[in-house]
């Protein structure tokens, strides 16, 4: 198959599936956190300001795993370095190997961030929910609960960030791709 077509197919499949699969677990996590937030407000209506503030900051942290997937899929659509290279060298011979490497890199960049962020998003949703429950039970301990929550969220976020950085490296500074296109001679 023409390497240009191969890279195009991989980009389309990967960008769609990245955000589709990557959005599942943040949505589940946020749903769980909001459900527990409503429960906590019903339990302690006086503390609703504190509870909803913590809930929204927690949601922003959970949301960021979905944003990583969104960034990767938008880059694959609008700023795809593999596609740009293939377009610039369209019709040139000897691009088969580079096309295969590009095909694999694009697909795996999507798989990395989607599967890598599932655990983080679910875990963050669970711990935000638990923190809201804790706030409803012990509003006096709110400073230490929220501090521990944010530090814990940052730690749980790291696996997703590692996956995100690896998938950006696969797209932008991929040594295998650089080697494959240097063999083509251009």
């Amino acid at each position: 198959m023409d390497p240009l077509i191969l890279v195009g197919i991989a980009s389309v499949i990967s960008s769609g599936l990245t955000i589709a699969i990557g959005a599942i677990s943040p949505a589940l996590g946020e749903g769980r956190a909001v459900a527990q937030g409503l429960h906590a407000i019903a339990q302690q209506p006086d503390e609703s300001g504190l509870i909803s503030r913590t809930l929204f900051v927690g949601l922003a942290m959970i949301e960021s795993t979905a944003i990583y997937c969104f960034v990767v899929s938008m880059i694959l659509i609008f700023a795809n370095p593999f596609w740009d290279f293939m377009q610039a060298h369209a019709g040139q011979s000897g691009l088969q190997d580079a096309g295969l490497i590009g095909f694999t890199s694009i697909l795996i960049a999507g798989v990395t961030i989607t599967t890598g962020s599932i655990g983080s998003a679910l875990a963050e949703g669970r711990s935000v929910a638990q923190a809201l429950d804790a706030l409803a039970r012990q509003p006096d301990a709110s400073t230490s609960i929220t501090r521990t929550l944010f530090v814990g969220l940052a730690m749980m976020e790291s696996p997703a960030i590692f996956a995100f950085v690896v998938s950006m490296l696969l797209i932008f500074t991929n040594p295998f791709w650089a080697d494959a296109i240097s063999r083509v001679g251009g």
């Binding site: 960021s64 960034v71 501090r147 995100f164 950085v165």
Partner: protein, 232 residues
């Protein structure tokens, strides 16, 4: 940030032989200058009377809050830590907040800056630990509970330093990226919302970076205290 680069390191503005002046360095200097100038201007007219200048009030709120957080985590006098932890927080927070300016590239969106910051933490942990309990007392905890734990302690310390750097870099970089992408697709209203979310995440990351640095330092100092308690 351009859509096809992931760090502002590639944006070279001036070059003379081997010496390059890229966006990361320039904006780091800008933040250093702003912090120094701001502190100098604000501390010029300090008063302890009932009517205090507006800027003094502002600085007092920041410094008092940082002191409070440090005291709550370490349960000891915050004075030795506040120059280090406070600088980390102010630098990262200002660097992330300024990203609302056009044509600005947050230096924390470059892996070299965040690595440098987390290396500072990596060095500060043994510095405070040794100063508190001596060289022998500090390095003893690497061999607790047995000698075989030594490599795991070392791996743990290196991996948490790497995680500190990559966490900040990944968050700031993805925030800058999403705004660039949204500006290309829907330039009118939606990027503002994402900018607001990015500012919130930038502040949370500044908070988390300095809190984690303090937690690591405090854990290196507290290990010793707990062993000292009799009958424990």
């Amino acid at each position: 940030m351009d859509m096809s680069t992931i760090t502002p390191d590639h944006l070279v503005w001036w070059q003379w032989g081997m010496i390059k002046l890229n966006a990361t360095i320039v904006f780091t200097w800008l933040i250093m200058g702003l912090l120094t100038l701001g502190s100098w201007l604000a501390t010029r007219r300090f008063s302890s009377g009932p009517a205090i200048p507006r800027w003094q009030n502002f600085l007092e709120i920041i410094v008092l809050n940082i002191r409070e957080q440090i005291t709550e985590i370490s349960r000891r006098d915050p004075n030795p830590f506040i120059p280090f932890i406070g600088t980390l927080f102010l630098f990262i927070a200002l660097s992330n907040i300024l990203s609302i300016l056009p044509a600005y590239h947050a230096p924390t969106g470059s892996l070299s800056t965040t690595t440098a910051l987390s290396l500072c933490v990596f060095i500060a942990v043994p510095y405070f630990g040794i100063r508190h309990q001596g060289i022998y007392g500090y390095f003893k905890h690497y061999f607790q509970p047995t000698v075989f734990m030594f490599p795991f302690h070392v791996i743990g310390e290196i991996s948490r330093t790497v995680a500190l750097a990559i966490r900040l870099f990944g968050n700031v970089m993805s925030g800058a990226k999403i705004v660039v992408i949204l500006l290309a697709i829907a330039p009118l209203f939606f990027p503002i919302l994402m900018h607001a979310l990015e500012l919130l995440i930038g502040l949370i990351q500044a908070y988390i970076f300095s809190i984690l640095a303090m937690v690591y330092i405090a854990s290196a100092m507290q290990l010793h205290d707990r062993q000292q308690e009799p009958g424990d």
